[in-house]
């Protein structure tokens, strides 16, 4: 029973990571740096809350969330691809911008600086960790299904091949007729929508938007991408691993064996260790961060 509860909570925590990390992986594989995952998630969470609040329907909320992520994804894409702006700077700017925008419109729409009113969500009432609540949430199934879908997309389709080509060697891809910019636009737009779904899940699961609801999860997802060496299945495993560590931290909190802060830093430490090449070499896509000339 304890094992089942542990497993369920791990999945529950891993779902937003799975969405955001899938988005991060596809954008980075196409050669565009994904420091924006946090912003995409936050944007998706906020627009989903707005949609669900005004329509009373979580599916409309989900659609609005995807659109919110797409909008920020397109800002990122235009700045990085059309204007060849520094991708890291743009990423940080979008994260800051989304925090400001969500706070401003939270004020305007709900006259609050901390949270929205309660909105419709999927599944059972309350933050239940039970099997029923989890299984009745379509976003959980979408998140789990995303793993084989991403693996298929990246390695079994022409689009996946093109994404990998423009991320490794854009000049070569261009010379055989791959429209580099268009593939990158598509990848970044997809990344915005996927990461936004992670935010949608958070908002609809908690039945409200709270200020900075994502709380750094976008960066954990980015850590999972790097720790998973930009591979869909390994990235998903990294997401589950980080989520399991977090679950462990929550379960252990009652016993005060290990300070919670020590468990909280596990993903970050593992990522640094992975980057330092201690467990296998971590090689990023060759053209990552470079604008096409």
């Amino acid at each position: 029973m304890l094992v089942l509860a542990f497993l369920l909570q791990t999945i529950r925590i891993a779902i937003p990571y799975l969405f955001a990390a899938s988005g991060g992986m596809i954008a980075e594989r196409a050669g565009v740096v994904s420091l924006t995952l946090e912003g995409f998630m936050l944007s998706g969470a906020f627009t989903a809350t707005l949609g669900a609040y005004y329509s009373g329907n979580p599916w409309i909320g989900l659609l609005c969330g995807i659109l919110g992520g797409l909008a920020m994804g397109l800002v990122h894409a235009v700045a990085c691809i059309r204007y060849r702006a520094d991708q890291i700077v743009v990423g940080m700017a979008i994260n800051l911008l989304v925090v400001g925008l969500t706070r401003f419109f939270l004020h305007m729409a709900f006259d609050s600086s901390s949270n929205s009113p309660r909105v419709a969500g999927f599944g059972g009432e309350g933050a239940s960790t039970g099997l029923g609540a989890l299984a009745s949430n379509p976003l959980v199934w979408m998140g789990l299904l995303l793993v084989p879908v991403m693996a298929w997309l990246m390695f079994r389709t022409a689009f996946g091949l093109r994404v990998r080509a423009v991320g490794e060697h854009p000049a070569a891809a261009s010379s055989v007729g791959v429209p580099v910019s268009r593939v990158r636009y598509t990848a970044v737009a997809l990344s915005g929508m996927l990461a936004a779904l992670g935010g949608v899940y958070l908002a609809l699961d908690q039945h409200q938007f709270t200020d900075q609801i994502t709380a750094g999860r976008g960066f954990i997802a980015l850590a999972a991408v790097i720790f998973g060496r930009w591979h869909p299945v390994r990235t998903a495993i990294a997401c589950l691993l980080f989520a399991a560590a977090e679950t462990l931290q929550i379960q252990l909190q009652a016993f005060e064996i290990v300070p919670s802060q020590f468990v909280a830093i596990i993903p970050y430490v593992l990522t640094i260790v992975a980057l330092a090449g201690v467990i296998g070499r971590s090689v990023s896509p060759a053209a990552l961060g470079k604008a096409e000339d």
Binding site: D86, I88, V89, V90, L96, L97, F104, I265, A291
Partner: protein, 367 residues
């Protein structure tokens, strides 16, 4: 990266009209992006103000009145600008070496913590001439230790400094949170005990009541020192050479890895120094979360200041005005408006830097 990589101007072929002088092109290339960005931010600000049904002119007027219009407001601007000058210098120095230090937030927290620790451990009544330099040194060392990690990992293993600094931010903040909440806090709070020595005097006179303090002079001195280091010393020359073209620098006999480590360490020390403004000059203790995003805003300051020490000081004043101005207008427009404007400024600078360079180059070619 955003370091300037402008090509030398082409020699004009005979017969074409003389191109504009080089200094003018350089000045345009340096100043146009920030100006475009500030304009873009004001337009976005206009839209947000209008969406609240207010008059932009009146709101911007309130913003200026609450910052530069009275002594208290200006004192607060100076206080915020002091922190931002340090973090901006930290980011700018690393960028000159071609490195992106996203870790100023954690370095600033570490510096503030060590300064508070030093001030707390020194016996009360230690003469200020000993206490203040010791606390300042502590702040620099705390930041430098955190900054040295990504520098070393980059030089030794090629680990990308952006990812490592993002991760070290989370790690440092979590560990400091642990130390303070488990061992060092005053009961019922999340801050350390007050320091017994090393207090930096606050400004008196008209500025009484504001948080402005003598750390401001240290920030200005640091800007001067960074300028001297970058443009008048051999090590600064090496640093800039590595930033412009690491392979060429290596070929010229510069140890690139060593320069990376040094640049990140000095950058971390500068970010750590910004902790003294709050800890020694204002609250006299370390409080969990006191950095409050000043490290991230340092990126914006460095970008708008175009990685130039004087530019950094001016950009720090600009961002400090915005952030203090948010409080002044909060009654009519949510103060978060200025956060949106800050984001727009960074985005617009990032977009317009390569665009302005391209346009100027086109113009130069056209003669």
């Amino acid at each position: 990266m955003t370091t300037s990589t402008e090509a030398p101007p082409r020699a004009a072929p005979p017969g074409t009209p003389a191109a504009p002088p080089r200094w003018r092109t350089q000045l345009e290339e340096a100043l146009l992006p920030p100006l475009v960005a500030i304009l873009a931010a004001m337009v976005v600000g206009d839209l947000l103000i209008l969406s609240m049904g207010q008059s932009p002119a009146a709101v911007y007027g309130m913003l200026l009145e609450g910052t530069w219009g009275n002594a208290y407001g200006f004192g607060q601007v100076m206080f915020k600008a002091t922190t931002l000058t340090f973090t901006g210098l930290a980011v700018a120095l690393a960028l000159r070496a071609g490195l992106f230090n996203v870790g100023a937030e954690g370095q600033l927290a570490a510096g503030g913590f060590v300064a508070a620790l030093a001030g707390w451990m020194l016996p009360a009544g230690t003469p200020w001439i000993i206490a203040i330099p010791l606390c300042i040194l502590g702040a620099a060392l705390g930041g430098a230790a955190v900054g040295a990690v990504p520098g070393t990992l980059k030089a030794r293993f090629g680990a990308h400094e952006v990812i490592v600094t993002i991760m070290t931010n989370f790690i440092v903040l979590a560990l400091l949170n642990y130390v303070v909440s488990a061992h060092l806090h005053v009961p019922e709070t999340l801050h350390t005990p007050e320091i017994g020595a090393g207090v930096v005097p606050r400004f008196g006179g008209p500025f009484t009541g504001s948080a402005a303090n003598a750390s401001l002079f240290l920030a200005l001195a640091a800007a001067g020192a960074v300028w001297w280091y970058l443009f008048r010393t051999r090590r600064g020359y090496e640093l800039r050479a590595v930033g412009l073209q690491p392979d060429a620098a290596e070929y010229a006999g510069i140890r690139v890895g060593g320069v990376w480590i040094r640049a990140m360490t000095v950058s971390g020390a500068l970010a750590g120094l910004s902790g003294i403004n709050y800890v020694l000059g204002y609250k006299h203790y370390y409080e969990d979360g006191f950095a409050g995003g000043a490290g991230f805003l340092g990126i914006a300051v460095a970008l708008v200041g175009r990685n130039d020490p004087l530019g950094v000081v001016l950009a720090a004043l600009f961002f400090a005005t915005l952030s203090q101005g948010g409080l002044a207008i909060n009654a009519v427009v949510p103060k978060q408006m200025v956060e949106v404007m800050q984001g727009v400024v960074i985005l617009a600078v990032a977009v317009s830097v390569p665009e302005v360079r391209r346009l100027l180059r086109q113009q130069r070619r056209a003669g």
